[in-house]
Symmetry: C2
Subunit: 311 residues, 2 copies
């Protein structure tokens, strides 16, 4: 049973184990959609880099498609690989909390990434994106760029605390800038839903100066609808997360896509690097690292474009 589940996961970096080597387990969701694909890309890349710079460290990287498989992976990492540290992005918070708590209580260093556990104080290190900063960074760009009286439409994600934090950050940032929000509906972080929603916005509003799509998948849907309506010259679109195709258009100065906001899948690299520092240096690495969103512009877009990443 265990063997079957393990066989269905990807294991990389399982090098021969020298004496006194420390082993770091990394467990992340499989590359089932764009952002998770980039997460896998950055995890593999960081494990490769650190395996070279730290020959005394072993890595075991597993990817899972459901919470049950992830729990089995974690149990296997402890039982057969004797890991000293675990870096885990929980597939779901609720079912993974107990298993991760038992691992932490056994004395293994635990780094939790982005999706927090349902009980506080279990992990040594928590590394996560900042949803309020994600919305605020976009909102600040709108407030600085648009004239008073400008009209915008907004596409929200799936109703959730993540979506609420993002929208609250955005609304606070545009407050007092004289921007009129014509409509704000849920595009559910979905390309097709966003396409239909944007068609609706375009038919309802004869003048739109800008779109906040709050996620690059929705931005792609919105762009398709705008293109179909032939209204490319009227407005700009700001998505978010740093999708490769979007960043490429920003660095090529597409007027329709002036900027983007990060919610970086590369945070898995941050989490692995900090965990390694925690194991190999005297620098304290216990605590909460909240990664701020950054504004991607034509000037800095090259820093956010990863040629070999799937996303």
């Amino acid at each position: 049973m265990t063997r079957l589940l393990i066989a269905s996961t990807a294991l990389v970096g399982a090098l021969a184990q020298p004496a006194l080597a420390e082993t770091i387990g990394v467990s992340i969701p499989a590359a089932t959609h764009g952002w998770a694909g980039a997460l896998n890309f950055h995890a593999e890349r960081t494990v490769e880099r650190l395996s070279e710079t730290h020959p005394d460290l072993d890595f075991v990287l597993t990817t899972t498609s459901d919470p049950g498989a992830q729990i089995s992976d974690l149990e296997d990492m402890v039982a057969t690989r004797n890991i000293d540290a675990l870096v885990v992005l929980p597939f779901e918070s609720e079912p993974l909390t107990g298993p991760i708590q038992r691992i932490a209580e056994s004395g293994i260093w635990v780094t939790v990434v982005d999706r927090g556990l349902v009980q506080e104080g279990i992990e040594n290190l928590y590394v996560a994106g900042d949803n309020a900063s994600f919305g605020r960074t976009a909102g600040e760009y709108f407030a600085e760029t648009l004239d008073e009286g400008a009209r915008i439409v907004v596409m929200r994600g799936i109703p959730s605390t993540v979506d609420n934090e993002r929208v609250e950050g955005f609304e606070a940032a545009i407050e007092g800038a004289g921007i009129e929000v014509l409509a704000m509906d849920h595009g559910n972080w979905n390309r097709d839903t966003a396409f239909t929603l944007m068609q609706d916005y375009l038919s309802r509003f004869p003048e739109i100066d800008a779109v906040w799509a709050a996620d690059d998948d929705m931005a792609v849907g919105a762009l398709a609808a705008i293109d179909q309506a032939g209204r490319n010259d009227e407005m700009f679109v700001v998505g978010g997360a740093g999708m490769k195709e979007i960043v490429d258009r920003i660095r090529n100065e597409d007027p329709l896509l002036p900027v983007n906001v990060t919610y970086p899948p590369a945070m898995i690299a941050t989490a692995i690097e900090m965990t390694v520092l925690g194991l190999t240096s005297d620098a304290p690495m216990t605590g909460d690292f909240i990664i701020a969103s950054e504004l991607i512009t034509p000037e800095n877009a090259a820093d956010f474009y990863f040629e070999d990443s799937p996303y």
Copy 2:
């Protein structure tokens, strides 16, 4: 003028600059008291370590005794050393905010350590201790260790937001544990004040089960008064910050000093390491890292004892 101020600061790690080398400036308060002494120790040690592992990086480390000298140091780092990144623990928040803001706006990466600036959003990375966690960690130990009805005395620091956060964390953690706080006065983080305050507590209260001194300098003062009164066997003392002599007594299982709580001067190592990762890797390092306090026990005390540190 500038030359005079620079001559009064310590400059280490100023290696010959190879082509394309990146230079990191580190500016911290001089070693005028215990915690700052350890800060200097960890900064020098980290710069030495990273100079070896990253021959492509240059470091310039300066220590200052007042805000004016620190401002001059920063100006000099920019003007004559052409730094690419700055790691700074501001001597005071108010006078340093403007100069650091100008450096950040010129495109230099800025990491601020522990003492925040008076305006938000200037620095790329903020690394700091967690005062609420400092108080909570001590309070949780009291709640778990002491029986219901136990009597304790508390020594607060200098009236400040730092002190308030620590005490609030402590009070929340002992709530409901049935611990009686006999008295809670300000020892002002000072050894002599704490000695006098403890003498007063000892004369007023015939039975004391434990002391929360909230800082190791105060703990040393309290211990002296307890020793003088010959009441060593009656109580235990929990300080905080990880002073070397205290950690040494914990690892030797002194019943008077069962545990300690970190507010680690080694956080400067964390800040320098993360800044180097920000410059040399693709891992996002922009954001806020709040370092949780850890409980030092006889079992893990060796990890917190630095033989060559002055503190």
